[in-house]
Subunit: 368 residues, 2 copies
């Protein structure tokens, strides 16, 4: 059956009460759906995106050269089979693909929020999605699946909305962001903040889109390092040079340098700097145990079947962080969990690129 | 016995022929010595510094709050015992502590070299030191010791000046810089190059010293990540906040962020941006096998006893890179080598901070 990609935006006028104590009002949530909702609404699968992801998880638009970020996983006869499941993928609040974020306009004066946008947390992102699903008259779903910050959202759903999803599949995430990941985000944040073209947040978004923002490019380069690993880089790039046209090797550019440059500068044409600051902040302050006495106490709220996947050479969110969730579930004698550690060669990026290593697992978890 | 710290600079008027085909002329080399040269000049130990190191390896100047970078290792009764050994530590060419580098003045016009400074390699750094030692009438030494880029220099001495040193001790280095390390350097280079205050290399060095250079600060932050590891950061910082004065945790600053900020911005007050670009270039293009058919062919030149040390959780130069040197020495049936892998908790920085883990080994290697 065809993917049946549908594009929507919902507008909400009731205030969204945030973890910080502040209010977001009004707000939009942009989302896509794939497949067909069945009559008893029992076939809903939610997918949650990572830092720079969007609602566009599957399918390909007319003017695109690349399909959605999990297109290999979502579709007819794929692991998340749209012949069976009705898949919803929404853009998180704070992001820049149609959901309300720092470069949305304030209702009061029509000006961009910029720094007036409130700090949002992963819990807030999940809360907003929950309200979206209410609007869609979906009050319980079959599964929630996500990797990296998407995995954090899946875990937050499990803890804060324990009766909402039968199954939770979280991969390449953590129970609480560790200083190594915070440090990479810090480099990116600082690099953006110190770029004079960022204009202390008062940039013209159109100018950034056209001209790029080198501070964000540099930050993204640091990000790309954290998504790979020494081994995956050695395999991918080695010490090969970009140009082999006879220039003496002392003056050439390494392929890895070229890769970082291309991806760094290109990124600034499609992502918003303030959104990057807000979402990396949300990632840094993610702690599943916040508001509870301990991680164990947080996990005691869970009633879903929970599936945890880590990648052995993930350097951004180390496998021991996912394992700690599994171990803690074991300690509290929770029965409905499973944990696998996958031997991957792609570092953190594995959840986006090495689908063949875990798609069987997702399929079994969803269908089993 | 006292350390007998001596500070010197030697001036050379003969051209230094560089690996790039270019010439450096004239040039200075700044160096320090510790201990006393014995009568038959058989007690010389050379120490080689890393990227941002200097000739100031031991002792403390009157106006300093911190001793030299290997003060814990070099001194009376220490692993490199200045009661026995005459230690020489020189600042590499291309650096900014008195040896000729990009912010030295050209003889022809009295202007700073800036980008006119030639690309220098680790082999060039070693060649210049060899000429310095000739000037000092030292034609053979007891040992050469270095970590990180200092380890590269020790290895380059071993291969390119095989009869110069009886012993070579190289730690936390590599046979050829891998893309992971190149990527970190790329972030730093790009960050410096894109800072408008860098003025495309035409900055006023005094202004940088006084006001700092945020692009270099950001680059240094990325560097600091690479010197640590996820585990060492977790131990050192956890998810602790810098301020615990009652501010809600969503708005606080993590200790790891504060650490990176402090070290990043402080760095720009004492290191020169162009020197950083040139030395990271030298590190990126380091390949012990350049000019040979293979690493094995390069290593066949060695006649010294060679001691290799890696640190298990070093993420900048992975232990397998040092192990590859050891394995290759084994393959060519070289007898005089030893290799140890140290279980450290400090990442790459271990060679500077966890001296207690390897000082016994250095002492044995030197004295044995």
């Amino acid at each position: 059956m065809p993917l049946n990609l549908q594009i929507h935006t919902e507008h909400f006028t009731n205030p969204l009460y945030l973890e910080s104590g502040r209010i977001l009002e009004p707000y939009d949530i942009a989302y896509e759906t794939y497949g067909e909702l069945n009559d008893d609404k029992s076939n809903v699968v939610i997918v949650c995106h990572a830092l720079t992801g969007s609602q566009h998880a599957a399918g390909i638009y007319k003017d695109e050269t690349k399909a959605g970020w999990w297109d290999g996983l979502i579709g007819s006869k794929k692991a998340i089979d749209t012949d069976k499941y009705f898949v919803i993928s929404s853009n998180v609040i704070g992001s820049c693909f149609g959901s309300t974020g720092p470069m949305s306009k304030q209702k009061s004066n029509g000006e961009y929020y910029r720094y007036k946008f409130p700090v949002v947390t992963v819990k807030d992102m999940v809360k907003a999605q929950r309200i979206l699903f209410d609007r869609l008259n979906i009050h319980r779903v079959h599964a929630i699946v996500g990797g990296s910050m998407g995995g954090m959202q899946a875990l937050a759903f499990a803890v804060h909305y324990p009766n909402f999803s039968s199954k939770i599949i979280a991969m390449a995430a953590t129970h609480a962001t560790q200083p190594w990941a915070i440090a990479f985000n810090k480099v990116a944040q600082e690099s953006i903040l110190k770029d004079p073209n960022f204009k202390q947040g008062y940039y013209d978004p159109q100018v950034i889109k056209e001209q790029g923002l080198s501070g964000m490019a540099v930050g993204r380069m640091a990000g790309h390092i954290s998504y790979l690993s020494p081994e995956s880089m050695a395999t991918k790039f080695g010490r090969e040079y970009k140009r082999t046209d006879g220039l003496y090797e002392l003056f050439g550019k390494f392929q890895v340098e070229s890769y970082l440059e291309y991806n760094g500068y290109n990124f600034t044409k499609w992502f918003d700097p303030l959104a990057y600051l807000y979402i990396t902040k949300a990632i840094n302050i993610f702690d599943l145990a916040r508001g509870f006495d301990s991680l164990a106490d947080a996990l005691k709220k869970i009633t879903s079947s929970i599936y945890l996947i880590s990648f052995r050479d993930d350097l951004l969110f180390k496998n021991i962080e996912m394992k700690k969730i599994a171990d803690t579930l074991g300690e509290i004698a929770y029965k409905k969990y499973d944990y696998i550690d996958i031997d991957s060669g792609y570092g953190h990026d594995a959840f986006l690129v090495e689908l063949e290593k875990f798609e069987y697992y997702i399929k079994d978890a969803l269908d089993g």
